[in-house]
Symmetry: D2
Subunit: 355 residues, 4 copies
């Protein structure tokens, strides 16, 4: 089958290596460039034994010089770096899937408020599409090249858990409380004392309380489908594991809502979804999803307090980053939705639920 | 100083061993009996190298025969076992601090609803005192012997975080959402496949969603101080660590409430509290508290959504179990509040806060 | 491409699920049966989200009744169970790859000494082949059906690290000391208090000191290639991780041996090896190999003490179990050596080393 | 009882905080100064909730100016820093217990070979005493002030396991192989990518193979008691835990040696030892020793291969660092050997063994 060429910027971090791991198996894609300023000169397979070629990590600038508009770029760089790289690539006619938050929001002021920097190319924000596959709105820009903003890991889980409740109109207008718990790879391979094993093991701690930068993309996505302003109070927690992310969503059930409606809302939403499965007999958990692009969702109506409690679990590096980016790549390039993510023989199981 | 004799039932589990570890240093208490059906015949110091005597674990029945009303009993047995042992001890005139939930609730029906068994001695429930030191209400029964129900680990953290908000009247009447995250020792040394290292490591999962048995004791404590019915929706999560527990509390702020009032509410509540400290410069975290009887609390007003977010962190085996039991023992027996828990030289630092 | 049918006994344990995970991608193999007495009735994809079919775990007996000689059986059952199942399958003409130790040794007495049971079918031992791909000796039995004993996880790593030293005659005749360190999944999903998270986390402990049952298969393999009796003192250690295994091998260097000869011995041995790579710039480590069928080996001559120190790292569930079983299956059935283990595009990189 | 004043340099690292944690309970010692360049200005109790005073971390230089010869200094600084600080303190007449390796070796060249720097004060090396309490040789210098070099964590465990074998003359002259496994706090709170949680969790790796700087102090100690040159090949391994260290020692048994002699050698050596206990029914393990100054030792004769296998387990921050430093301090100052390390009521149990 014809092969499409892809380049990866920021390829030696946790998300970048995960892109390489998954793309090694993609039947339609060939990775022809991988940049990393910190690992320049190192061969990819020294970091990833299964990597099939002699590809070498090169500096961002070298890769940028080589990239052509026949290729597609994946960016696993920090938001400030991505903001610049996307502009350079777009100007050269190269389509991009950006794993950072640099183009997820439309309002330039939100970058000052939530990311702490003024976006350097606010005019480009309107050209970017938010790449959450399960969201009906794709708002595809009829443009070439395209800029796809891959959703954040917390945002993906938060939206997947909340979406059915909002779409089926099961909850009232009060703020949705979202409590996120993530393993450390979500923070990237950052040299920060707080991320040392000695500081993370045997400890749990909240961070960016009510200030996490994934909040506005969650609100934007939910508001779009709700056709009203949805308000979210989100708090992130770091827990001692490498991979895995769970969001616990707490909302006020509308009066009269019953568990059967909740069940139906989830099933209706995800029956057709390839990579989201509804679990009923047990709550979602992350361990079973390690290395996989599947997310699990579940929801319980606490009748006594009229609280709707929904969960989504996923692997933050796969469905929360690299796997979802490949879903976006497949859609952008017209490949099979499962390509690179599931065995080719996989045919959608009709149940959609493991229970 | 004169020494008081204590016996421990269920002494070889995680909480039981922690009682022994702490009491080894208690200046006024001598442990003269330790029961364990599973470790019978084994010497205590084989499990706890610092144990100073040749004490041997003996069967519950043997210990029960020996205990006298001059002694006090600590129970680290499961709730159903404790329900029976407390009755036997009470009838023999022995005061008890019970670490299980067997006597924490007053309404016998709550045991059917939340614990899944009919309480065998409902008439004894009214004689029990709820031993959360920081709660003003002690409702001390003018009786001998006394039954003190040591609070649950989640309940302790949930109440410590919520108490200032309720007392200072900062939140409205809507249900309080509490998201608890705990290490595995909270579940005891139970032979359950779900507690194997291979199943817990690299995973996070909710459990007992909206059905956790600590819910009614949280509601009861908060309702008492609020002088109204406080409703709580509590969900527990298992995270991959041995010790440590964090509760994240989400409530609706009353209109007009500002961060300064929140800060003052915490400071007012815990300025005099020996083992609860208010943190401001960072959120509470569990790692720093391992092995200690201190809890950390903090609270942030999310102005944008008017959500009050409060946290409490503690070591589930110390402040959440054995340490708090020793606080209760000290109060019961008239010893210094810090005895066995802090160096004798410790004098209350006036700030009460590390920031 | 034509598909070969395979059945798996013991499919819901750690090794069994890993077989399923890998075979889901195998281009030539279709899994048509999966037995598990403990998970009977459960669908495979409830445990393994990526599983592509509606296959259901069934009891061992049911699967045994269905299996035909046109199929091949993979056994991920305990040694005593495998001893029986292999006999039943062999008698029915079905070829087997057995992941247990039941047919790894030739001397029936060794089962009494090392496994603690008398082998029920000693006459079958001589018909089994030891399936360590990298060992030149395959001693293939010209028989149908065939019995392939998949090597133990520790044994695989121990042999891979020692083989070059023995083949190149770099070490003297004194016993080789092997210190093994493994994550807990090597022990299977066994309900044993010593395997609870609370007992494994934050602890390291030796076990089966000088009595581990992988010792005789290590000695047998090394003695075969050395053409002399090689004696090994092996000690296993449990460390707090899920997957991953490292063996540290200590042997006396022959006089005159230099580091260059050691380097050459490793390169000569593994240049052609698809799944063993030699590392030089750093010692082997397990983290980089999680989920992969690659092993890393490295060796250092401690000139000062004339000790040759060799290491092998691997994922105990892949190269140490399921992945190696698939290598054996590929060889047995004449498929590509990489099939199911690497992307099809993978072509042997000439260097063989990541450095 | 009269209180002796102590100052701690490098007090905010893992070993420094452990010194503070233990000294908070020491009946005879008052910590009057704690230096930390990185945490200057922070109050000690913000890092250590149980700390009883308002002590503030101050810069090394400030503390150095204040220290008097009536006080004693504990150094938990890196070796190069300690080399300088010891000199300054010694010149001012202050006795020192140094937890680094700066004064553990006598031969200045060994610093170039093993530590990678030329020792700045080689003439001071001969004045230092090696503070392994269990070693009969104390070679106390009849000098004031005294310099006590606290042994390394690996060295302590390696020597404790090997000492009985050497003293009882159970092993031959061939090199002793020592395989060490340690949690990450042994490496200190160093900002090194290899120590991030994401790199340490789910991985095991050797490091400083045959080049670890604790090797010469192990050889020096064992050679002294053996009255011959003992040669050791030592390799360190990093395993995913915070605290805990196990050494596995492999030596050739002299012909004729039997297990009973091994047992007796251990019992004879450690019967009188307060903080070393011999275990027989199971191998030593680290988990049971967390937070304690006890070490466990055990030894097994592998009759088949004539290998003597000995283990020692300890908490690297207590017996391997801060606890042992307090043992040295107690000896230096004439306090009870248990002071600050065990409850005062502790009286030596006669058995010395938990089995």
């Amino acid at each position: 089958m014809a092969s499409h060429e892809v380049v990866i910027f920021g390829a030696s971090g946790y998300s970048g290596l995960e892109l390489l791991r998954l793309l090694a198996r993609h039947p339609n894609i060939e990775v022809v460039g991988a940049s990393s300023d910190s690992s320049r000169g190192e061969r990819v397979f020294s970091r990833l034994p299964e990597w099939p070629s002699d590809l070498v990590f090169e500096p961002h600038d070298d890769l940028m010089r080589r990239v052509t508009r026949a290729q597609t770029a994946l960016l696993a760089t920090p938001a400030k770096t991505s903001a610049e790289l996307v502009k350079l690539l777009f100007d050269r006619g190269v389509s991009v899937v950006d794993l950072s938050g640099a183009y997820r929001l439309q309002d330039p002021r939100a970058y000052v408020d939530w990311y702490g920097f003024a976006h350097p190319y606010p005019e480009l924000l309107a050209k970017a599409e938010y790449g959450l596959i399960e969201l009906n709105d794709r708002r595809v820009r009829p443009q070439t090249p395209r800029i796809i903003a891959n959703p954040g890991c917390y945002a993906t889980a938060a939206i997947l858990a909340s979406l059915p409740l909002v779409v089926a109109n099961l909850i009232d207008n009060s703020p949705i409380v979202i409590d996120g718990k993530s393993g450390v790879t979500g923070a990237g391979k950052t040299l920060d004392e707080k991320l040392l094993f000695g500081e993370v093991a045997e400890s749990v701690r909240p961070y960016r309380v009510a200030r996490h930068q994934h909040t506005p993309e969650i609100e934007r996505a939910l508001s779009f489908v709700a056709k009203r302003q949805v308000v979210v109070s989100f708090t992130a927690h770091l827990i001692p594991m490498r991979r895995g992310l769970l969001t616990s969503v707490y909302a006020r059930a509308r009066s009269g809502v019953r568990q059967e409606e909740v069940d139906r809302a989830l099933t209706d939403m995800y029956a057709a979804g390839r990579f989201v499965r509804v679990v009923r007999d047990r709550p979602p958990e992350t361990g079973i999803l390690t290395g996989s692009n599947f997310a699990e969702v579940g929801a319980v109506l606490d009748e006594r307090t009229r609280t709707l409690i929904a969960f989504a679990a996923l692997d933050n590096l796969v469905k929360g980053a690299a796997g979802q980016a490949i879903q976006n790549l497949n859609r952008l390039l017209g490949f099979e939705p499962n390509a690179g993510l599931l065995p080719e023989r996989f045919e959608q199981r009709n149940a959609g639920s493991p229970a």
